[in-house]
């Protein structure tokens, strides 16, 4: 039977879009590498390499958002908080290790060699002086170790998502109420981080993250291309991971939960467990994205974690087309690049005589109009355009042939 052979075909053959995406990503990475200052002809400035690297990280968190929202139907307004937590986790090590070096350099001139406590106190004073403190808070306990902080990149967002998700899903919170709850979590986290005694330098955030400890002699041009490669690799691996997850049987269950949760439940699947799995996995990937993003941005502060960032994330995915991974990538890449072009003064002002449109102010309006337009007229988003190219648009018969109409038909369904 022909249908029995289907599952044995290779993964890439069954999902050509994955192959296309990886090829496009590889080509893009190669192109940027060749054009960059450090490894190529220097047509692309270091700051633009960083912008592109950051864009890739945003694409990574966007595909995570797409899996949780577009595939599983959970409109989470908290995934940028997980992204930020990943950034904070790596930022703590970067800041500690870099400050440690500065302090040690200063202390080499002293007559008596400094003790361990003295060094620690000096680092603490350097880092926390800005918020009027000198002692290390408990949450910095692992900040001296890169390995442990890398573990935190995964564990902190993962555990928060696990605990939060467990409480929310077990209580059967769903739909818009869940969105509000995740937004509340994000807001609470941002408000907490804004406090000076949060232990993470309040609204100053963590800064100087672009300087890699021990690699001061390496120019930023080189560092930027390293991070760009890292981001591209992470996006590629993340894409493969999610494509594998959503294509298999678990993908079938996850999409089923999106479309008819009760039915999945009556099939014997523990819906809460699946939601928790998706929520936590995507939170971890978001954390990894953040850990790659903020060293390229150089600074992380609580404003990054504010609820509006998570709403942007949903907007990117909606514009790009939810329910397809490459749609999320397109949405995130396009909107984030456009956003930095408009807000960075790249777009020329439009002089209307009586009023001058300054895009720094009007970009958000434009984005809002774009979002409404996409939602109303192109519910499949930009990614939906690929349907026109790839295969004919399937006839939608959902809701047709209801009980009454079906019974009135003179003939049976299609001949068997």
């Amino acid at each position: 039977m022909p249908d029995q052979a289907t599952p044995t075909r290779p993964f890439a053959a069954r999902h050509p879009s994955v192959l296309w995406f990886i090829a496009a990503l590889a080509l893009f990475t190669l192109g940027v590498t060749v054009l960059s200052e450090a490894t190529g002809v220097g047509l692309i400035s270091t700051s633009f390499v960083k912008t592109l690297g950051k864009m890739l990280c945003l694409c990574l968190v966007a595909i995570a958002m797409d899996v949780v929202w577009g595939y599983c139907g959970i409109l989470s307004l908290g995934h940028f908080a997980f992204f930020g937590l990943g950034g904070y986790a790596i930022g703590m090590w970067l800041m500690y290790a870099r400050t440690e070096q500065i302090v040690l350099d200063q202390m080499t001139n002293e007559v008596l060699p400094p003790t361990g406590t003295e060094i620690k106190d000096a680092i603490g004073a350097q880092i926390f002086g800005v918020v009027g403190a000198t002692d290390f808070p408990v949450i910095w306990a692992f900040s001296h170790s890169l390995t442990l902080q890398l573990l935190m990149v995964v564990l902190v967002p993962g555990l928060l998502a696990l605990v939060f998700g467990w409480l929310a899903f077990r209580a059967r919170v769903a739909g818009v109420y869940l969105s509000i709850l995740t937004q509340a979590m994000t807001l609470a986290l941002a408000l907490y981080l804004f406090q000076n005694d949060s232990g993470l330098r309040g609204n100053n955030g963590l800064s100087g993250l672009q300087n890699l400890p021990g690699l001061e002699s390496v120019p930023q041009a080189q560092v930027s291309i390293w991070f760009f490669w890292g981001s591209a690799l992470a996006l590629g691996l993340g894409y493969l991971l999610f494509a594998w997850v959503v294509s298999g049987k678990i993908g079938s269950v996850i999409r089923g939960i999106r479309d008819d949760e009760a039915r999945v439940c009556f099939l014997g699947y523990n819906v809460e467990g699946y939601k928790l799995f998706v929520f936590t996995l995507t939170a971890v990937v978001a954390g990894v994205g953040g850990a790659l993003y903020y060293p390229q941005a150089g600074i992380i502060n609580p404003a990054e974690v504010a609820p509006i960032a998570s709403i942007y994330l949903a907007v990117w995915v909606a514009i790009g087309g939810r329910g397809r991974l490459y749609g999320a990538v397109i949405g995130a890449a396009l909107v984030s690049v456009l956003s930095s072009w408009f807000t960075g003064g790249g777009a020329p002002d439009v002089d209307l005589g009586v009023y001058t449109i300054r895009w720094t102010d009007w970009w958000l309006v434009l984005l809002g109009v774009g979002f409404v337009a996409v939602t109303l007229f192109f519910p499949k988003g930009i990614g939906g355009l690929f349907d026109l190219v790839a295969h004919r648009v399937a006839p939608v018969r959902v809701g047709d042939y209801g009980p009454d109409d079906g019974a009135k038909r003179k003939e049976e369904g299609p001949a068997e």
Partner: protein, 246 residues
């Protein structure tokens, strides 16, 4: 024949309205049973209680040889214990293919990690092919379920139920909106299923119930009004009063 499901003394009320009133019912395995009754008799609520969607205020619902109580189990746990439910409206996953629908329902481990690493073997593929054949959808396996006609969706849902290999099948108005030929096939399917398992069909179409030719339980105002063969219950004075009015 041994008792598979025992419902005894179950009552449930919504905002003071008694939807189920001291209901007692026993189903053997295998058995085909039709539950009929006028609108508001509590047929759907009865199914909701058995499948764990609604918790009764009082009473017991016992399951299987060990007589475990279903009342403390979650919906998905009850489904895994062997109770399958077909809803009144055909509820299949319209965005997914017929094959994916059947594969999802197939009796297999249901934990997220087991499903994540699940690979379909030839046994499962063969089972899907056999089921598709049984419900007459062999040629439609790769079509999205949303494209199917109403009757085909009903069969797909029945096929998904059979794929679960439940010991008890609860079927809510399977013949609604079906053509005559589709009804006949549905009757056949249900009768065949009932040879090896317990099947409860909730229906208020008397013709269809007659076609099933099985024991009938009449519900009225949340309690059992009469039980027996269709001819027996239709001659019952109370049933005539309820159904035909006085």
């Amino acid at each position: 024949m041994n008792t598979l499901l025992e419902v005894s003394g179950v009552s449930v009320s919504f905002d003071g309205f008694r939807a189920i009133n001291n209901l007692s019912l026993q189903i053997a395995e295998p058995e085909l049973r039709a539950v009929i009754g006028p609108n508001g008799a509590g047929k759907t609520t009865f199914m909701d209680i058995v499948t764990g969607k609604t918790r009764p205020d009082t009473g017991r619902v016992l399951w299987g040889e060990k007589s475990v109580s279903l009342l403390s189990m979650s919906e998905s746990r009850i489904a895994r214990a062997g109770i399958g439910r077909k809803f009144q409206k055909p509820t299949v996953f319209e965005a997914q293919t017929v094959r994916e629908n059947l594969a999802m329902a197939l009796r297999n481990p249901r934990g997220p990690f087991k499903v994540l690493f699940y690979r379909e073997g030839s046994a499962a593929a063969g089972r899907i092919a056999a089921l598709a054949d049984e419900i007459g959808l062999s040629d439609a396996l790769q079509r999205p379920a949303g494209e199917l006609s109403h009757g085909q969706k009903q069969w797909l849902e029945i096929g998904m139920l059979l794929a679960q290999e439940p010991r008890l099948l609860l079927v809510d108005e399977p013949a609604a909106g079906m053509t005559l030929i589709e009804r006949e096939r549905t009757t056949e399917l249900l009768q065949r299923a009932a040879r090896t398992r317990a099947v409860i069909v909730v229906e208020h179409d008397m013709d269809f119930v007659r076609r099933l030719g099985c024991k009938v339980t009449v519900l009225h105002e949340g309690a059992v009004l009469a039980e027996g063969s269709l001819d027996h219950v239709t001659q019952n004075r109370d049933v005539i009063d309820v159904y035909l009015g006085r």
